[in-house]
């Protein structure tokens, strides 16, 4: 394969866009040194090549993955794209090269550097998604409920089935402040939609009362002879705390200090991620 010494791809940041980068790389037998999404910082030293998103090319690449590698590989690629690892694009491109030349055997190559790195990224995404099954807190506003999260990875599509199933008869929203998207659910339908800014309204008295009740339960359940802050922080990392009433209610000062400006979205067009 011909390696261009100073080539970088730029694409629109969508999943289809990345698949088109893969298409391009195969078509011209060239491997870029980097793949940048629109809006992310770009290396000045590299010659940039804009890759147009083309649904037909993207489809061809996507269909070939389960065909030439395996179904699990397709899932890995999707989840890898939602992960927060820097340079995920190059990782996915390298993984597909590895997969297209090794076939389904690639899924056993756990010790290969590329596969290991991708697997690790996906593992982190899965772990974070699992955390959010428990660490999401809804606020009830009359007939609707809403929650705010600030995940590192793009977890909404991973956790959506769980919450839509659990709260089938409820109307709710989970707002992902990092990626500026929201999962909106009403009985019978749901969607993940872009949402630039959403500030939760003040809770009413009933809601505040249940928060206090929950805080007093949280306080009472810990056994003081077994106090273990390190263990708690490792099981429930501090970055989750500011959206948990049981943690903020008792440490208002600490919580205020943790407040940071929302991170720039990694991806300017999150809707395309699906």
């Amino acid at each position: 394969m011909f390696v261009t010494s100073s080539l970088a791809y730029s694409y629109d940041g969508s999943f289809e866009g990345l698949l088109c980068c893969v298409f391009e790389s195969y078509q011209w037998k060239e491997t870029p040194l980097a793949i940048h999404s629109e809006g992310s910082g770009q290396g000045l030293l590299l010659e940039a090549k804009w890759i147009e998103t083309d649904k037909i090319k993207a489809d061809r690449v996507l269909r070939s993955i389960p065909l030439k590698i395996s179904r699990e590989a397709e899932e890995l690629v999707r989840l890898g794209f939602w992960s927060a690892v820097p340079d995920k694009e190059m990782l996915l491109l390298n993984f597909l090269y590895l997969g297209f030349s090794n076939g389904s055997a690639v899924m056993n190559m756990l010790a290969d550097d590329t596969f290991f790195a991708l697997n690790k990224a996906v593992r982190l995404l899965r772990r974070e998604s699992h955390h959010y099954l428990g660490f999401i807190r809804f606020t009830v506003y009359g007939p609707v409920m809403a929650a705010v999260i600030e995940p590192q990875g793009y977890v909404l599509p991973v956790i959506k089935d769980h919450f839509c199933d659990r709260f089938q008869s409820e109307s709710f929203m989970i707002y992902d402040r990092t990626h500026r998207v929201a999962l909106i659910h009403q009985p019978g339908r749901h969607a993940i939609v872009p949402l630039d800014e959403w500030v939760p309204p003040q809770p009413d008295e009933t809601e505040a009362a249940y928060r206090r009740l929950w805080q007093s339960f949280y306080h009472a359940i810990g056994i003081k002879e077994r106090k273990n802050d390190r263990q708690r922080a490792s099981m429930m990392p501090k970055r989750y705390w500011k959206h948990l009433p049981e943690m903020t209610g008792m440490r208002p000062v600490r919580a205020a200090r943790q407040e940071k400006a929302p991170r720039r979205p990694r991806n300017p067009k999150p809707r395309e991620l699906q």
Partner: protein, 438 residues
């Protein structure tokens, strides 16, 4: 008394029950209902003691007609008493669940009036949740020893998991500390639940819509350190319970003194957390690693070594079975290597289909080489530069961090190679007898 005060009192009284999981039941949501259950369980928060909170863990009441010496709710202990009505329990569960604070309810109770009456109250609360509010989340309920079989059966169809606490691991300890309970009164409901679960699984084969009886199985709890029972006794009992009563989980609770009693360790005794930790490690070895209790402990050495985890102790005592060739060893043997867990053993099996593994690869698969290095070879060779002196071996196998975390008063004064603890290890010169092919 307002709801807040009640909740505090009845949580305080329930918190020494260590069962916390919400795993084992898989149930999807339904239109018109609230909630589902997922088999892997979900932790919703972690308390200041680092333990998982997944269920609203409360007592129906902390009033009790019994007088068990170790229990904070014993009749003769002057604590504030409170009681929930079934309605209050159901309401707060629904409200917490909706906000995603919890995965469900853990409901236990002190004994009011009689075991039957208490069970009826528990049933009333669960019926409200299941039938009125159409709650499909997780429910763990305590079976009350001495209650009528029919009532316990009814309770089991409303819950996901049922448990009867053994509390004290021997009949003698029970007699001394919990004179109102007997071995029989505990094992009888336990046996009933086991039978119901078995019966139910055959019913389910015949009738798809047969009501499920405690689908997440049965668990129990033992208090460690309140009585002179040894780890060996506890582990044997554990093994028996897993086999005979098909329990899903057994929980161990380091005894935290809550009441003054001449029969009990004094109030300033620290809970034996390290001992509890070792028992959980051994419990894991029984359930997932194919070990038997008699391999881990015996009459001669009836307690776990505080310095080494049970798997390392076993490996050092069985060095004739090592080293193991990672590229060929069967799964069962990989599992017995210190530093290789269930996950990494599975990954090794998978990865070696794609090529031969070396030490560098093992690291990526999650093997803890610090411990495993002494027990494995890759392509017939030990790790390059590996020095197996007696001290390096033992030092590597002991986890300093773990020790510090569970620092116990009696170990504080201990020098690193104190005789009394090393005596429990195999004879000195351990390492010298390790031999590696190649």
């Amino acid at each position: 008394m307002d709801m807040m005060e009640k909740l505090e009192i009845l949580t305080e009284s329930a918190k020494y029950d260590v069962a916390c999981t919400s795993s084992g039941s898989q149930r999807s949501g339904q239109a018109g209902s609230l909630g589902n259950a997922v088999s892997f369980g979900i932790c919703h928060s972690f308390a200041a003691d680092g333990r998982c909170i997944s269920l609203l863990k409360v007592l129906m009441t902390n009033g009790c007609i019994y007088d068990c010496a170790y229990c904070i709710n014993r009749k003769s202990n002057p604590v504030r008493r409170a009681a929930f009505t079934p309605q209050e329990i159901a309401d707060v569960t629904m409200q917490f669940y909706r906000r995603n604070y919890i995965e469900g309810l853990f409901l236990s109770s002190g004994i009011m009036r009689s075991p039957d009456y208490t069970t009826e109250q528990l049933i009333a609360a669960l019926e409200l949740l299941r039938n009125e509010y159409h709650f499909r989340g997780y429910i763990h309920v305590k079976a009350i020893p001495g209650a009528d079989d029919a009532l316990l059966s009814r309770l089991g169809t409303l819950a996901d998991r049922m448990s009867v606490n053994i509390e004290l691991p021997s009949q003698e300890s029970l007699r001394r500390l919990a004179p109102d309970k007997s071995k029989q009164s505990i094992l009888q409901p336990m046996g009933l639940i086991t039978n119901k679960i078995t019966e139910n699984s055959t019913e389910l084969v015949k009738y798809k819509h047969a009501p499920r009886f405690a689908p997440a199985g049965q668990s129990t709890q033992m208090i460690v350190g309140a009585t002179p029972d040894t780890d060996y006794q506890i582990l044997n009992l554990t093994e028996g319970l897993y086999k005979k009563y098909k329990l899903k989980r057994i929980f161990y609770s380091a005894y935290t003194p809550v009441v003054e009693d001449s029969l009990l360790p004094s109030l300033d005794t620290k809970p034996p957390l390290l001992r509890e930790h070792r028992l959980y490690q051994a419990d894991w070895l029984l359930r997932f690693y194919g070990f038997e209790a008699k391999e881990l402990l015996d009459e001669a050495a009836p307690n776990f070594n505080p310095l080494l985890d049970p798997k390392c102790s076993w490996a050092i005592n069985h060095r004739e079975q090592f080293p193991v060739e990672v590229n060929r060893a069967p799964y069962e043997m990989l599992l017995r290597v210190p530093g290789i867990g269930v996950r990494s053993a599975q990954r090794i099996i998978k990865a070696r289909r794609a090529g031969t593994l070396d030490f560098h690869a093992l690291k990526k698969l999650g093997v803890v080489l610090k411990r495993a290095q002494f027990f494995i070879t890759c392509k017939g060779r030990p790790l390059e530069g590996l020095k197996v002196g007696e001290h390096t071996l033992l030092r590597s196998l002991m986890s300093g961090q773990e020790l510090a975390k569970f620092q116990q008063p009696e170990i504080e004064q201990l020098s690193f190679f104190d005789d009394s603890y090393l005596a429990a290890l195999p004879e000195a010169g351990v390492a010298a007898s390790f031999s590696y092919g190649g």
